[in-house]
Amino acid sequence: MNYTWDFTWVWRNSDVLAWGMLVTLVLTLVTVAVGAVIGVLVAIMRQSRLRPVFWIARIYIEVFRDLPVLVVLIWLFFCLPILLGPNASIPPFWVAVAGLSLNFSALQAEIIRAGYEAIPVGQLDAASGLHFNRWQVLRHIVFPQTVWRSIAPTLGQAVNTLKLTALASFICVGELFYVTGRLIQDTFRPLEFYTTLALLYLALILPLAIFVQLFEDRLSKRFRHA
């Protein structure tokens, strides 16, 4: 093994990599924002006493947390335009947002449900005994506790979504994984670039993962029943 590493290739293309990183981050943030909103809606629908509403939410959750994200992305990218007609064109970035948020929102809805169900009934009973009305219980106990109990798992899932954005390269979204592949085609320097790729993903993910862990440790004490 006498490969001569030459990271100047990487350095010379750092602007392209930086752009790819930015796209990865923006894709993650937009997905998490869109997915969180849909996730909250689906979680509420999941609690509905109206059977059809409940079932729509159940099926949505089951389908999109079980389907591989790559399959969803490919389907949205290749099949949806054919079904929508010859003039339909959705930019790949938004196809990626759609595919990733379908997955994120389904998982988010389950996270919220778990957070809600983890509230000890005794704490609702205490509120009942004080004759808080339904709205007061919802607003001052159920809502804040569900939020607190959901934050850490939601952040954890956001980190997962960041990792999943690499799949968007399959539908030509110019995120970090995609631009790295293109640079390798141009330079024939896979070792330098793939190594750099791994380090860049770590640089993005590690601080987030550590933050989530610390946050979780702090909260799990306070909400020990969870």
């Binding site: 005794g122 704490q123 005994g129 004080l130 004759h131």
Partner: protein, 227 residues
């Protein structure tokens, strides 16, 4: 003689086929303290929940002449509150805010006023020092006293207390008993469930024993025996 604040007539309760108690009659007047004792599992908690309108029973339960029902009473119309057997503090709020929330929601007080009022109740029960702590970091007895402070803060005409001194040392049981006597002196009524006869004696009110066939008045039995 004014109408009793609480009136139970022929109250019975069954869970499915299993009959818990029947023929329970009880009247509690304003400013009175009634202590209910009885073996574990006889249905004391269930009886308190029935008075609070939190569980359905056969027979008549009226509070201030109106049938007890738990219908999400709105602010300004709180006739009673039940302090549960387990402290059940709200995990997301500090001890102080657990009590202050009661002031805010039941008495429409703004946050600062509510906290000041809450602090007074907590200091009276010697938990002012842990007011900033979260429930998970409180001892069992401290949790129980914060829970009791929540009930005091509700300031309802009727206070239902379910074993609120079980985790509390003897000196503090006296302190709680004194606090309850003060509440009764101000004209409010208390129904207290306890295993602890000392507290019952300190309160000097009527002591009743719950049995599957109704409530026995122990104080009457006592006088008959001694006289």
């Amino acid at each position: 003689m004014p109408d009793p604040l609480v009136k139970l007539e022929g109250v019975s309760k069954a869970f499915g086929d299993r009959e818990l108690f029947k023929n329970v009659d009880l009247e509690v007047s304003m400013g009175e303290i009634v202590t209910i004792v009885g073996p574990s599992g006889v249905g004391k908690t269930t009886l308190l929940r029935a008075i609070a309108g939190m569980t359905d029973v056969e027979g008549q339960v009226t509070i201030g002449g109106q049938p007890a029902q738990h219908n999400g009473v709105t602010n300004g119309n709180h006739r009673l509150c039940l302090v549960t057997q387990h402290a059940n503090l709200w995990d997301h709020l500090s001890a102080l805010d657990n009590v202050a929330l009661v002031r805010r929601l039941l008495h429409d007080e703004p946050r600062r006023t509510a906290r000041r009022a809450a602090m007074r109740y907590m200091e009276a029960l010697e938990v002012g020092g842990v007011a900033r702590q979260y429930p998970h970091s409180l001892s069992g007895g401290e949790q129980q006293r914060v829970s009791l402070a929540r009930g005091f803060a509700a300031e309802t005409p009727l206070l239902l207390l379910d074993e609120v001194s079980s985790n509390v040392d003897f000196r503090r049981r006296r302190m709680i008993a004194d606090a309850l006597l003060d509440i009764a002196k101000s004209g409010r009524s208390i129904v207290l469930v306890t295993h602890d006869l000392e507290t019952a004696q300190l309160l000097r009110g009527r002591t009743l024993r719950l049995t599957p066939d109704g409530l026995d008045d122990l104080s009457e039995v006592d006088t008959r025996v001694t006289s």
